[in-house]
Amino acid sequence: MSDENRSVKISSEQQGADISYPVIKKDHYEKMKGEAEYIRDVPFEGLYESAFVRTTIPHGRIRKINLPDLPEGYHSIGGEDVPFNRCHSVGDEQPVFTDGEVRFIGEAILMIAGPEKKICEELCSRTEVEYDELPAVLELKDATESYQDYHYDKGDPDKAFREAHEVYSETFETGYQEQAYIEPQGVVSVYDREKDLLQIFGSMQCPYYVHGALKIAFERDDSQVRVVQTVTGGAFGGKEDYPSLVSCRAAAAALKTGHPVRISYGRREDMSVTTKRHPAILEYSAALDEQGLITGLRVRIRLDAGGYPGLSCVVLQRSVIAASNVYNVPNMDVSGSIMYTNTPSNGAFRGFGGPQSIFAVETLMNHLAARYGMTPLEYRRKHFFKEGDVTSTNGRVHQHVPIPEMLEKAEELIDYSRKYEEYGKPQTGRYRRGIGMSVFFHGCGFTGSGEAGVPIKDENGNITGYNGGSSLKLVKDNKDRVEILISNTDMGQGLKTTFSKIASKCLGIPYEDVTVKNPDTQRVPNSGPTVASRSIMITGKLVERAALKLKAQWIPGEHQEIEEKYIHPDFLIPWDNDTFQGDAYPAFSYGLNVAEVELDTLTGASRLIDAAGVFDVGHTIDRTIMLGQAEGGMLQAFGYGSMEKMESRNGRLMQNSFTDYMIPTSMDTVPFRIAFIDNPYSWGPFGAKGAGELTLDGGAAAYEAALEEAMGREMSAIPATPERVLKALDGGTEG
């Protein structure tokens, strides 16, 4: 552990020091003491519990529902109790309560609410549902119907393939990944009859998503809906749009029963029915010149969206845009589809479509390097893009790309090249070792012009401006304490702390005098969702600008309020979402992972023995918090590449608990060697860029590369389970 970030000193007074200097997190004490109130810890008067009757077939129609007699105080709630029975995500496809067509196992048909959870559950289990079954699509590889397709070209891919010295093709597969936040999904709805106010309290990333979904489903105005985030026990994308669905159900029950109603998933229920990372099939063809360098790529990406499209199209956008990762590929032909299957819907998970593409590209690079007698690093060096180069979508790499510095740092931290050479020599014996590297990026913020709001077009279709965009408010009281009013949530990633640091630093007031509370849509403006690694770079920049404005107008002892609205960077090549041309992101964050593994050739089991991560997230707002993002994200990535296995069989997810879906424990990891490269971005607060997702984008590829070296065999699928490894060792084609 040679790393300078390891021994941090803490001071609550960070005035004068670099902003990166760690502080005690705003919510540290309440969380340590167990006093922080997660939704299940909040008492509600007259609270009703609930349980669900769920679909048991993958595809069909509901013919009849036979409810048992409900005892006094127990109510059944279904589609007829929701005025517009659809839960808004990107579109309005998924019913709040499934009423006609069944599209996957585990959809909620109806809910029983009442005083005792056990009785609700028992009543649900005695409810009989009759179906007319329909043929189901159970595997991504058999899927033929897509919800949405994207395609873009760069350069002249046909020519590149026509003139190629050689064409190399490979198909990659990636599996499910479950977010496995330790606090399961949970919300409580309270209907205030007097004020006609429909309220939701709960564990979530995006209060305004829930707010929007409730307004649509219950046909209400802004002021008739209130959403309050409670302390959230991890989310990782799993609480991006899913809480909208549970909230609509809880709200229907609260309206019908007149009681507060709680939905609180058990672990098995949570894992069985909530959204996961999309399984993917990625077909790559590379046009190569005489030296084996890539002149063109043809890429077809299919993501398994499941029974409803949800956020899948946005996830797919990221996958297709990342199709060439950090490499210069002059000619590209990229298309992607989100496929309809009769399996639980998939959605957001940290990385958001990136990890699938990055696994494929990074593995492809390794395989091509081997074919042309180069080391993975030599081969990559011939392809890395740099400032001024053209991105996959004909945008520009606008800022410095510190990959050379990152490589140097990685050598220093873990001695990659020497170990690569050593493990490359023939190995004998049962246990063998390998080391693998991945280099990757993450586009910061929403894809395309999403951040700017809805484009206003003139009659020729040219964009002349934008409507919407995030805003926030600073409120100073007469004791000169400042509260930041934002809708972004702290779900463990430390936003309360980092936002407070930005404001206090700009205002020149103590960190203790700045507060951020859990958002309540009745108090905070819409500063956008807590997604896409946008919070620090986008909302954080708003905090910075608002704080500087307040400082300029500062009147001691007086109440003051400042509002600030998002400004779109002026250096961008406008994004066209129809053709996928232009700057997809204003900036990229960069990552480099190295994994060193030991493989047991007898059992196919492998374990991590050393690992390094080097990241460029601009300038870090808090070194300790950033280290936490790196540590946590990398371990999730290694889990994704190695042990986290989930499969659906006949439309049913076969793993639904921590007993059969294994996430890494403390015994599955080792001390990581982590370093950050300082590369400030002028449109981010104090130079910060996006950070949270980047850390999970590349670890799986590094892990698999290490295994391949240990085995002396190639693989093209993750997770690298012992069965897959043994198959590859046998010389069979795994997949």
């Binding site: 340590m32 058990g266 990633q493 540590e631 921590f658 403390s666």
Partner: protein, 155 residues
């Protein structure tokens, strides 16, 4: 009535013996520090100390607590040992979403009370029944190691 010691006080529970200790703690005694992450003994979010031993309260029937000494984070957080852990967890950035934290703290105490000077491997093993999805564990391990040094003499 089942009586036991809870955070240093003698208590009697109205619950019946096969109720889960976790529910009794959270509902009857309003101690919501122990959390439910899985309900099957797999995650450690519900961990408490029973006669000093780390115990997952979600798979412990109330009857097992009879006559024993149960300590939850609420009781433990009043001790000097806790304060050392609190400081070291802060300095090492060992808390993110916090849902695993009360259980982790109990696991730390469970270890340090029998082994005040653990190796890194000892710590790794001691928290191996506590899942944390946020931190990747290393910062928690550092924090516990550091507490064992800074809190010398307390354990």
């Amino acid at each position: 009535m089942i009586s036991f010691t809870l955070n240093g006080e003698k208590v009697e529970s109205r619950g019946n013996g096969n109720e889960r200790l976790l529910d009794v703690l959270r509902e009857e005694f309003s101690l919501t520090g122990p959390k439910e992450g899985c309900g099957e003994g797999e995650c450690g979010a519900c961990a408490v100390l029973m006669d000093g031993r780390l115990t997952n309260s979600c798979i412990t029937p109330l009857a097992n607590a009879a006559g024993r000494e149960v300590v939850t984070i609420e009781g433990y957080s009043r001790t000097d040992r806790y304060r050392v852990l609190e400081k070291c967890f802060a300095e090492e950035g060992a808390v993110q979403c916090g849902f695993c934290t009360p259980g982790m703290v109990m696991a730390a105490e469970g270890l340090l009370s029998v082994d005040p000077d653990p190796s890194e491997e000892d710590v790794r093993l001691a928290i191996s029944g506590n899942l944390c999805r946020c931190t990747g564990y290393n910062m928690i391990i550092k924090a516990i190691m550091r507490a064992s040094k800074e809190g010398k003499g307390l354990w």
